[in-house]
Every structure is written in structure tokens, then in C-alpha cells.
């Protein structure tokens, strides 16, 4: 591997750890980033000629720390002369083990006093090592907008003194929830991507999973952290089957299940099993369990809909929402018949009127109970509200069936 390629890999893998160590020592995000950039320039020169150190992350940290001290000194003495730095030689085995400070950094990046979009950008940039350009592209904003967003967030961390620490016990659980929410949001940004820039955005899924793995290692006693990682792996196992050749979404029932990634399914299921042994139930674990039940069914018909319906029932009490109610009614219909599902769905009418999954589910259940006219109306309403072209063409196909057979 060339020095440049190795630096790139090292950067990605070690960025969060190195930056966290630097911020711990200097208490300054901007200084830490600038010093790491300096260190990368040095690394590029030195590794090219002298070879790559055995512990590249530790080497980078050592160099970056010296650069940071140097920058601080120059800032106070106005001394602009270039310093001859006492660099560690490549053979030096760095004497220190870098302590893992990434958890503190995550809590700072996901502090609730920062806007959610800033939390997401900071987490990806600072912990994930994504460049400003990459984060900007993933969120479809210009590079200067993203640079401003990051700078403003860093300034607030500094000026308002957002703490850099693992929160005390009384705050811990709500702050962990905030971390998980940010990681899941990053995952969903990638997962929901379709069309032209889908590959770029799918990287976000990988990044979220990587952050999830780090967090599981740092918070081994948090069941929901395991639950979220399991959920992301199980969802992501369907990646290859979710989009057709044109990049359009393929519905779960119609996916080629042989394309599902069994390794991810196995890993996700094992992590979920581990989470369940901690006896702290939570919404991520429940969603992961639902996803696992889909994953283990060889065909849509073989799905354990009864258990899925019950899991949606628990999810509805933990985190009530319209999506959960609609999915629950669909699962009930699959498990106990369309009339039972319809009975759960119809009371949602007033609140769900502009929510297309509600109309799509209602249309399907009306069709299955042979209420063609009502089904056709519901399909029309769903089509009018649906923004996804694959789902719209599915709904249109069903609507045509209703209209043709109705004549």
C-alpha cells in the first residue's frame, strides 16, 4: 500500500480516536483539527521515505500533540519562524497507549443544545473523519454552508462551554438516547437514499454502523446501543435487494431474498440476542427483533406475523407514532386476517388523513376484503400523497386492478 493510501485508511480508522485524545489534552476542537492536519502533512512526507510506523494512530497523535503545542506557543509569542520539530522516528514505538476518549467526544458532538443537523454534521466530521466536502455532499448542501455549520457548532461548544465528558448518572440515559438518535438518523439518511446519488449516501449506512460498533464497545452495558447496532445491520442486510437496476425501491414482499446478506443477518441477530440478555427492553431492540423476524423468513408467507404484530404492540406503548400504528394494523391483518387489521386501522382516520402509508394500507385491506370501490378511492388518495415512484407504480397497478375488475 502506498503511503498516501495508508494515510487515508489510517485517517479514517484513527481520526475519531486521535482527535478525541487531542481535544482531551487541549480542550479546543479547532486546534485539535488543525494540529491533526499538520500531522498528516508530516506523515505523508515521512512515511513515503521512511516507511510506515507500527502504530500509525499513536504516531499521528504524538506528532499532532507536538504541532498543537507549537501552534499554541506561536500564537502567544507571535513567533512566526518555522520550528524544527523533534519528530518521533518511524521506528519509535510510541511509549503511550492513546486512551480512548471518543465517548466524551460523542457526548459533546451530540449535546442537545446543538441543533440536530449540527450534531449530525459534527459527529460525521469529527468522529467519522468525513471531510467537510463529503458531509456536505451527503446532506445536499454546499460546502460553504456545511463549513459554516461546523464552525458555528465548534464555536458554540467553546463559547457556551459545552462539557467534554461522560455525563453524570442522572443525565446519562437521556444523553445516550441522543447519541443513538444521531447515529440512527445518519443511518436512515443513507438507507432512505434512492436515485442518482444513492451510492454516496449509502456510505452513510456504513459510517453509522461503524459508529454503532464503536459505541457498543464503549458502552457495553447499554442494551439499546446493542439494539441499534443490530437494527442497522439487519436493515442493511437487505441493501442489495432493496433497489432495482434503475435504483428504484423494491418493496419488502417483492425483494429477492437470496440477495440478503446472511453475514449481516447473523451478526445482527447475535447482537440482538446479546442485547436481550441485559434485560433493558427498548424501542431499538423491538425494531431489531421485527427486522430479524423478516430476515429469518425464507418467503413473505413464512413470516411470523403474529409475533411481529405483538412486537408492534410493544413499540406502540414505548414510542407511539402513526407509522407504528399503521404497521401494527398491517401485521395484525397478516396474522389474523384483513378484517382484524381494518378494524385497527379505521379509527386512525382523522389523524392519518395526509399520511400515505395509512391510505396504502387501508386500500390493500379493503381490496382483500373485496370492498373494491372503497379500495379504489383509498389507492387514489395514497397515490396522490406518495412521493416515492416505486411505491406509486405499485399502488397504480393495484388501482388498475380494482377499476378493471370493477367494471
Amino acid at each position: 500500500m502506498s503511503a498516501a493510501a495508508l494515510i487515508e485508511t489510517t485517517y479514517r480508522e484513527e481520526h475519531g480516536r486521535v482527535i478525541a485524545a487531542l481535544i482531551s489534552q487541549f480542550g479546543d476542537f479547532t486546534l485539535a483539527e488543525d494540529a491533526l492536519q499538520d500531522a498528516l502533512v508530516v506523515a505523508l512526507e515521512r512515511w513515503e521515505t521512511e516507511g510506515v510506523p507500527r502504530n500509525p494512530g499513536a504516531w499521528l497523535t504524538t506528532v499532532a500533540k507536538r504541532r498543537a503545542i507549537d501552534r499554541l506557543r506561536r500564537a502567544t509569542t507571535q513567533d512566526r519562524t518555522a520550528d524544527v520539530l523533534d519528530l518521533p522516528t518511524i521506528q519509535d514505538e510510541p511509549d503511550m497507549d492513546i486512551p480512548d476518549e471518543r465517548l466524551k467526544l460523542m457526548f459533546t458532538c451530540c449535546h442537545p443544545s446543538l441543533a440536530l443537523e449540527a450534531q449530525v454534521a459534527l459527529t460525521l466530521h469529527t468522529l467519522g473523519g468525513l471531510s467537510t466536502t463529503e458531509v456536505a455532499r451527503a446532506f445536499r448542501v454546499t460546502e460553504s454552508t456545511m463549513a459554516q455549520r461546523l464552525a458555528r457548532a465548534r464555536r458554540k461548544i467553546h463559547n457556551a462551554r459545552i462539557p467534554y465528558r461522560v455525563p453524570p448518572a442522572e443525565l446519562l440515559s437521556e444523553r445516550v438516547d441522543a447519541l443513538l438518535a444521531v447515529i440512527y438518523l445518519i443511518f436512515n439518511e443513507g438507507y432512505c437514499a434512492t436515485g442518482g446519488d444513492a451510492p454516496i449516501r449509502h456510505d452513510l449506512c456504513g459510517e453509522a454502523i461503524r459508529l454503532g460498533r464503536v459505541l457498543v464497545k464503549l458502552l457495553p452495558q447499554s442494551a439499546e446501543t446493542h439494539g441499534l447496532l443490530a437494527l442497522m445491520l439487519l436493515h442493511d442486510s437487505r441493501h442489495e435487494a432493496r433497489l432495482d437496476k434503475a435504483g428504484e425501491l423494491v418493496l419488502l414482499d417483492e425483494q429477492d431474498r437470496t440477495l440478503w446478506d446472511q453475514t449481516k443477518i447473523d451478526e445482527g441477530t447475535a447482537i440482538l440476542d446479546m442485547a436481550l440478555t441485559l434485560y433493558q427492553p427498548g424501542p431499538y431492540q423491538v425494531q431489531a427483533a421485527i427486522s430479524a423476524l423478516h430476515a429469518e423468513a425464507a418467503t413473505p408467507e413464512a413470516t411470523d406475523w403474529r409475533q411481529i404484530a405483538m412486537l408492534y404492540g410493544s413499540l406502540a406503548t414505548m414510542r407511539p407514532s402513526m407509522v407504528v400504528e399503521v404497521n401494527r394494523a398491517v401485521a395484525v391483518a397478516m396474522a389474523w386476517g384483513a378484517p382484524a387489521g381494518l378494524k385497527m386501522l379505521l379509527p386512525l382516520d382523522a389523524e392519518a388523513d395526509d399520511f400515505y402509508p395509512y391510505h396504502a394500507a387501508r386500500a390493500d385491506l379493503l381490496r382483500r376484503t373485496n370492498q373494491r370501490e372503497a379500495a379504489a378511492d383509498a389507492y387514489e388518495r395514497a397515490i396522490a400523497l406518495c412521493g416515492n415512484s416505486a411505491e406509486r407504480s405499485y399502488l397504480q397497478r393495484r388501482l388498475n386492478e380494482m377499476l378493471n375488475r370493477g367494471v
Binding site: 449535546h111 443544545s113 463559547n159 457556551a160 462551554r161 459545552i162 462539557p163 455525563p167 443525565l171
Partner: protein
């Protein structure tokens, strides 16, 4: 680190309190002041009279413009402030959450300017 806690509430919705409720409310503020003082974080505080007693001043092109009340129609108005000395934003948030007005109005936490910062 000094934080100013700006206390906002909706004066239009001020309910008619019974004397007992009013007494309880006053006690709430006194308790907060006592607690903040005992913790060594209380630097300053004041309550403000209603915006109907406010005057807004601007100087434009050398002319002093004076208007009654605040410029904009706002639902929530500034009703008072605290200045607290806290070690970080989490501590400031925990104090803000105890200011009696927080359950009906809102508290804006503003880090105070230190020369050379910003």
C-alpha cells in the same frame, strides 16, 4: 463561566392567582434564590416591570426616536434575569430548569461575553 438566564413569559396569559397561590409562587422564587446563593453560583438577579411601562429608544441620522413599549408584538416578553456562575453548560441548564418561571415560560441561557472572546 458567567451565564445570563433571560426569563421570558407570556404576560397576556397571566392568570388571576389567589393570595395563597401568589404566596406559593413568591416562596418558589425565594427558595430558588436561597439555593443558588448557598451553592455559590448566584451573582446577580432582577425582575422587570411589564412592557406596558417600557420605552424604546433609537438614534437614527442623529435624531432620537422614542416609542412606547417594545418594537415588535411578541407573545413572550423578558420578565427578569439571573446571572449565574457555572462550570459548564450542563450545570447552567440544571439551574435554568429550576427557575420557577420555566414551567410556564422559557429561560434563554446566554454565555456572557469575556473581553477578547467571540
Amino acid at each position: 463561566m458567567k451565564y445570563m438566564m433571560l426569563i421570558y413569559w407570556n404576560h397576556a396569559e397571566k392568570p388571576d392567582f389567589t393570595p395563597e397561590e401568589l404566596q406559593k409562587l413568591r416562596q418558589g422564587w425565594l427558595n430558588f434564590n436561597k439555593e443558588a446563593e448557598a451553592a455559590g453560583v448566584l451573582l446577580d438577579y432582577n425582575g422587570l416591570l411589564d412592557i406596558t411601562d417600557a420605552t424604546t429608544v433609537r438614534v437614527r441620522d442623529g435624531k432620537t426616536l422614542i416609542t412606547d413599549g417594545p418594537f415588535a408584538e411578541t407573545h413572550e416578553q423578558l420578565g427578569g434575569y439571573y446571572v449565574l456562575d457555572c462550570k459548564d453548560l450542563d450545570e447552567a441548564i440544571s439551574w435554568a430548569a429550576k427557575i420557577p418561571a420555566v414551567i410556564a415560560g422559557s429561560i434563554e441561557i446566554r454565555p456572557m461575553y469575556i473581553a477578547g472572546q467571540g
